[in-house]
Point group: C2
Chain length 408, copies 2
């Protein structure tokens, strides 16, 4: 018998989707914004309904906890994130958090208490679209970097991560604090696939085997500003022209005949960004991903040379801001997810993750795994992102069974 | 005998430069900002000291007027603008306005009244760096477009031109209104050269013969947003890659072996501008200039074809936002400027203008001309912009003599 409620979960997701709603059923809910705070307050309210305890750590990760029969046992964690891309969808991140909430809600309603405690976490700033890089909450928790490591990162409006974090911590002064870091028994995260495979094959559940590695870089090209009407082209040091040349040279250098390597220049800022001034600085991001550590290392290490080769008379720098190595999930968690899907009667297959997730850092701390549900047309980071209520409910049922198995 | 006061003029310029001051002696005073308003209030105060009347028209151009012995006679206009580039200097625009003020101040102090009235104008939004294109004030006045023509143009923060204009008009509700448009006897504008010629040749005064033509375009490239980690490169419609290709193709197509054509991509905006999302839209500006109408027409008309040729699978559009044909100044005004420089004992030469100026539109209405003073190292649209107090005073003395000759 299935315990998770399709309707309750869908209603909660739709309530969350109203916070930061944008046209086309999209969501724009940046990390550490008023919208993020409002979404977290909804979670706090829902936790109160079932008597789950709520706390936050110094990285602003939000923890909901229900006790087990053995409250000293290491807990089972399930989680995802509530922040979104600027033109994001309703399910990326929010689904995993609401699914975790649905697991503890359904168990509570059924009067089931597991041996181990269960914790549901909403990690801070997974997307990294307001403050790059992403996963700052889970990285802090996993001890990859201290929680003040990103203090000097600024958003599009020049606001520092430190300031935004302090503002949110102050706004949540009423919530109990817990220490940063912990040693759970296991970690499982439910998420939409963000790719087309499950839908194309008509499969309910993706049993995730691992996550490809990601490296993020910031490239800065510096020339000299000049008057667009007077400065001869032969004398200019035009950062926009040189940046365009660098981007195309990189695109060529990153060509992969197997089409497995992912290379993206998604964020560009130009100074002074006036139509009648030659640009004196162009800064752009590079997001590079591959499932194999060696390929990711070699291709990423090529970037500086390619940028240098594209320069004529501008200065340049390349700085790496994020490096998440490819990981493989724990065999025990993978097999529990498979068994849960099988027992619930849902079709399933093994699948790697193209997107990175907080699970990438959890896997450094404890045995970890993920559950994917289909994404319509593979669309994500886009308002058109969609997974049906019943597809979501199936994923949550598998999550519930997996968490229960790991917690008993 | 020279009438213009070097010290008074320099002090006023330095007072203006404090409004919107940025590091390195620069100025950031966008059109229709609080800084712009503050600068205009300084002008109003200085006008009051000599009993000049003040008014504004519906395009927010600021008019100072001193009567002549024949107040029905068509006035002589002298002017420039008070707005600056985001990383601009202290002299571009501000010098011409302060020089005009110095002309009427010096004449007033000397008890000299010309036959014709003299009007000093600060035109609205010459630079076009906050609201593109520039010269909206002088274009409105010259009847090129109605003053609400740019209402839908937005600045970097999404503020509409109409809203910024209405805010400034409201903040200046105490100033008398005058109708838009007029038919002056003549127009003369003093300005820094913004190029290296006068300094290199050790010449005091540039007698400007005309202004090269300018065409501004906005190119929009539309693809599809996608997740940076999952979308295969072969299936992407990446607006940033295609925009880079278009910019480089344009740079190549606009190559001019004589290095007279000016081609600049200075402003770029990317959507959603997140490092882990493929860009669905990139919009960039093109500023194209040439002294010959035929060349400017042919090169400008090539742009759409070049952009189209650079596309693989993105949509594109090219929109022309500004078209100022090359103009030649009136022989009468040119010869009056030459005579004034000669009589004052200053070295001078004929010179074309690479930058556009409000004089380009004034020349449609009445006989017009310009006076250039040297720019150190030709640097402009940059905090390092510099012209010495005595160089500026020489330009103003020539302006005074020219205005007087035209007004008597």
């Amino acid at each position: 018998m299935n315990l998770a409620s399709e309707q309750r979960q869908w209603n909660r997701l739709m309530d969350l989707a109203e916070i930061g709603a944008i046209p086309g059923n999209g969501v724009n809910r940046g990390a550490l914004t008023a919208g993020d705070r409002a979404a977290r307050r909804l979670m706090v309210g829902w936790a109160a309904e079932i008597g789950a305890s709520v706390s936050i750590d110094e990285a602003n990760n939000l923890w909901l906890r229900v006790e087990g029969t053995d409250s000293d046992a290491a807990p089972v964690l399930t989680s995802s994130h509530l922040d979104s891309q600027p033109k994001g969808g309703r399910f990326d991140g929010a689904y995993g958090v609401v699914a975790g909430l649905e697991v503890i809600t359904a168990l509570h309603k059924a009067g089931i208490v597991t041996r181990r405690p269960i914790e549901v976490v909403a990690w801070t700033n997974e997307e990294g679209s307001r403050f790059a890089p992403g996963c700052t909450g889970s990285m802090s928790w996993a001890g990859v970097h201290p929680s003040d490591y990103w203090d000097d990162v600024r958003d599009h409006n020049g606001i520092y991560y430190a300031a935004a974090l302090a503002e949110q911590m102050a706004a949540e002064a009423d919530l109990p604090r817990r220490p940063l870091g912990s040693k759970p028994h296991a970690y499982v995260e439910a998420h939409i696939e963000q790719g087309p495979i499950l839908e194309a094959e008509g499969i309910d559940i993706g049993v995730v085997t691992g996550i490809q590695g990601s490296r993020w870089f910031v490239v800065s090209i510096s020339g000299e500003s000049a008057h667009a009407g007077t400065a001869p082209l032969s004398l200019r040091r035009d950062a926009m022209i040189e940046a365009s040349r660098a981007i195309l040279a990189l695109q060529e250098a990153m060509y992969d005949p197997k089409d497995v390597l992912r290379f993206t220049v998604g964020r560009v800022s130009v100074s002074p960004n006036a139509s009648n001034s030659v640009a004196d600085n162009v800064t752009f991001s590079i997001d590079l991903r591959h499932p194999e550590a060696a390929t990711l290392r070699v291709r990423g290490d090529m970037i500086a040379g390619v940028v240098q080769g594209a320069m004529r008379n501008c200065e340049w720098s390349v700085r790496e801001t994020f490096n998440a190595k490819p990981i493989e999930f724990a065999p025990r968690v993978i097999s529990e997810v498979e068994r849960a899907a099988e027992n619930a009667g849902f079709s399933h297959r093994l699948i790697p993750s193209g997107a990175f997730h907080d699970a990438q850092f959890a896997s450094r701390v404890c045995q970890s795994g993920m559950i994917f549900v289909p994404s319509r047309a593979g669309i994500s980071h886009n308002p058109a992102e969609y997974t049906s209520p019943s597809q979501l409910a199936k994923g949550t049922e598998v999550l519930l069974r997996t968490v229960r198995a790991l917690a008993d």
